[in-house]
Amino acid sequence: MLPSPPDASLTIAVDRDLVQAVLAGRPDAFERLVRDYQRLCWHIIERMVRHPDDTRELCQEAFLRVHQSLHQYRGDSALKSWIAQVAYSVAARHLERRRIPLAEAAEGDGLALAEGVGDGFDLESAIADEEIRGLLHTAIARLPPLQRTVLTLYHLEEMPLGEIARVTGVPEGTLKSHLFRSRKRLREILETRLGATP
């Protein structure tokens, strides 16, 4: 049985209190907000940019932007989504400045993803769980930034697709397609490398 999600209205009420404390300039309120959401912000940015120094700098930038525009938070949705949206947009702008595409343009570059996945990988002994995971971790790391981030938000943060659509500004149908194709491709890589479904 899955754990039941926390009461949404209670979460939003707690969020509003925290936001009001920050806006009122109450000592330590902003630091608490950062502490509460730093993990989420870090995960999104790290998945997008894959560079530790950039992640730290961009994560700080995201929180400074959160503080700057916190008065715009209306409390209609969870603060978590709102902060995730800021973190995503900061990371996306960083990638755009560096001309790194956020998502693949079209179907069919699965081979590029699969190529090199086996580099330094002993295929003959790749039957243990750890090795299968290592193979897939490499393949996940090679996914485009948007796909990597969607996998993280959906599976690790357990965000529904509608919420991820609000965070990324990408239509829900497109996200579902990205998620489906990423998982399918990872499974195909597994099959190709191991010769059969485990």
Partner: protein, 143 residues
């Protein structure tokens, strides 16, 4: 950014993916469903993720205070420059203008006008000082 129209997905395969995710979340002991997708889901959730360094929140908060102080200094400097410009410009044109005003509204009224202008200037200056003192207090508390 433009997002291409998504390709249609195979709903049966989508359900297999979702079932694998639910099984992994529930840590179901029986390995029913698609083993390949189960391995994929387990790999996704076990992917190593970094974490913010210790003291990250305090550092961000301190940086915010530092930037706020810097912005206030820049604003105060801007006001100062503006006030100087107004004084200099006013000085250049005030004597003939003041004489014309006195002649137009009379000596007593112009004296009261000076008092009102002086009080407005004093109020503005007090506000600036209080704002700067508050900024200093906030910087100490957060930073």
């Amino acid at each position: 950014m433009n997002h291409p129209v998504p390709d249609p997905i195979d709903e049966r395969e989508w359900l297999a993916q979702e079932q694998a995710m639910r099984a992994a979340r529930a840590r179901a002991a029986d390995a029913t469903g698609d083993g390949g997708y189960r391995a994929v889901v387990e790999a996704i959730v076990s992917m190593p993720l970094g974490a913010p360094p210790a003291g990250f929140a305090a550092a961000v908060s301190a940086e915010r205070s530092r930037r706020a102080r810097r912005d206030r200094r820049i604003a105060a400097l801007g006001f100062g420059v503006l006030a100087m410009a107004v004084l200099v410009t006013g000085g250049a044109f005030s004597v003939p203008a003041w004489q014309a005003l006195r002649a137009a509204i009379g000596g007593e009224a112009s004296a009261w006008l000076s008092v009102i202008a002086g009080m407005a200037a004093l109020t503005w200056a007090c506000r600036q000082v209080l704002a700067m003192m508050a900024a200093g207090r906030e910087g100490k508390a957060v930073g």
